[in-house]
């Protein structure tokens, strides 16, 4: 349990059975009045944000979160299926819940899924993944208009800018946090 004076940015609390994260927090106290705790809260299930003012007598339950290692299996009609390799249980996440990560979901890749009680909230990928370039235009030497990068498509369908020497069929490493090219991978 938390009281209002425990509230601070980043704290996860449960309100009406949904998990919320405190995104902004300020202690205020009008002259001679009571202490008030003004918060911006974000619903971790649906992303809705709102502002709320609490008093020091208000109490909150902690939002019980846990991360599980799971393996990505397949995608069907906008649902992404992941499996727990310990007990073979499967969960489905929507495209919204997967978010940007859908650009980097390699078959059988192991990811961390954040759960609130039994409900999946979102996934976190390994920071770096190695992928095969499936489409790249040949580099026209002396083409100064396009600068020093060119666009390619990788096996997950994601498109990004890479140095001009990268060719189709080569493997490259991508930083999944920024979505940017890091290096060419040999072998």
């Amino acid at each position: 349990m938390y009281t209002a004076s425990d509230l601070r940015k980043g704290l996860r609390i449960k309100i009406d059975n949904d998990p919320y994260i405190v995104t902004e927090f300020n202690f205020v106290k009008p002259g001679k009045g009571q202490a008030l705790y003004r918060c911006k809260l974000k619903n971790m299930m649906n992303g809705n944000q709102f502002e709320r003012t609490f008093r020091s007598v208000d109490i909150f339950e902690a939002a019980d979160m846990q991360e599980k290692k799971m393996q990505y299996l397949y995608q069907e009609e906008g649902k992404y299926c992941f499996m727990d390799n310990q007990n073979y249980e499967q969960v489905f996440l929507s495209a919204d819940q997967v978010g940007e990560a859908q650009n980097f979901l390699l078959d059988n890749i192991e990811v961390e899924i954040l759960f609130f009680e039994d409900r999946p909230l979102g996934i976190s990928l390994p920071n770096f993944i190695d992928v095969v370039v499936t489409k790249a235009d040949p580099w026209a030497k002396g083409d100064s208009v396009s600068g020093n990068t060119k666009p390619v498509t990788v096996q997950t369908g994601y498109q990004l800018q890479v140095p001009p020497f990268i060719e189709e069929g080569e493997k490259i490493r991508i930083d999944t946090r920024s979505g940017e090219y890091l290096t060419r991978v040999k072998g």
């Binding site: 205020v28 106290k29 009008p30 001679k32 009045g33 008030l36 003004r38």
Partner: protein, 288 residues
């Protein structure tokens, strides 16, 4: 800044005084918690001792000192902060409004700021007279509900913070005055309208800077209000404080007076255009 404040008061014949920080009984207020120091407490304000000096015959006094309030920490709050208080006998809170106009314009001038301050992108002209608005008018204008409704629903503080304060003192500083009588702990009620207390708060660019009263001099009434505040504190499971008996005895000898407390750190925030109180102190509690 503090040098110009001292000069402002000394030039007007005020006596600078120093009263103990550690006291046996702070003024019981419903929502102010004192920090214990052994069997005694650190002062939440120098108010009680300064009023005893008024009762002892000093007519114009000021003090710059540390005050301590447990649990208060935010962008505008430190549990240990610096307060300026000044008191005048033989007058009421309207004279203190003139003092505020003179003092802050003088301090800003000494710092080379001219006739206006800019705080976080809001420019506020300091030329007197500053705006005077009653709590009733402010609620009607900004809150969308009346003071009575807010008090009745128990959300006066929430409405004040969320709806009213952000509008106060945006072009000129504003004196928010005539508080509902029950919200003026140590203030005298207005003789013509006993529903309101002669209390004002000064706001500049939405930031509350000072709280002032025409001081209550009726010791019996003051005792009743302290007892009510103590009851409120017990109901909220807040620590109880002994009643400040020697203050109550002195109060019956205190001449009609007006007094004001102004947050020095917040004035520094305004004059130095800093967003948080952390930026105007050398050390925050977290950095110790």
């Amino acid at each position: 800044m503090t040098r110009s404040i001292r000069r402002f008061f000394l030039d007007q014949g005020f006596l600078e005084c120093e009263t103990p920080l550690r006291i046996p009984a702070p003024a019981p207020e419903s929502y102010i918690d004192a920090v214990a120091s052994g069997e005694w407490f650190l002062q939440t304000s120098p108010e009680l001792c300064m009023k005893r000096l008024l009762a002892a015959g000093y007519p114009k006094i000021f003090q710059i000192c540390k005050c301590f309030r447990a649990g208060e920490r935010g962008a505008f709050h430190l549990p240990e902060f610096t307060m300026l208080e000044w008191y005048r006998t033989g007058t009421d809170y309207r004279t203190l409004m003139d003092d505020c106009e003179g003092l802050i314009a003088y301090a800003a001038g000494e710092l080379g700021l001219g006739g206006a301050v800019s705080w976080q992108g809001k420019r506020v002209a300091l030329l007197p007279p500053w705006e005077r608005i009653t709590v009733r008018e402010a609620f009607d204008r900004y809150a969308g509900l009346s003071v009575e409704e807010a008090l009745g629903r128990g959300c006066f503080d929430e409405i004040m913070v969320c709806k009213v304060e952000p509008h106060l003192g945006m072009e000129r500083p504003v004196f928010l005055c005539e508080y509902p009588a029950e919200l003026g702990a140590l203030a005298r009620v207005n003789a013509e309208n006993p529903e309101v207390a002669e209390r004002f708060e000064l706001y500049i660019a939405g930031l509350e800077l000072a709280n002032a009263f025409s001081e209550l001099t009726d010791a019996a009434e003051q005792r009743r209000r302290f007892e009510k505040a103590s009851r409120d504190r017990r109901l909220q499971n807040c620590p109880a404080y002994p009643l400040p008996e020697r203050f109550l005895t002195a109060l019956s000898r205190m001449p009609p007076s007006a007094g004001i407390a102004l947050g020095i750190d917040r004035l520094a925030m305004i004059l130095a255009d800093q967003a948080t109180i952390d930026a105007v102190v050398a050390f925050t509690p977290e950095s110790l």
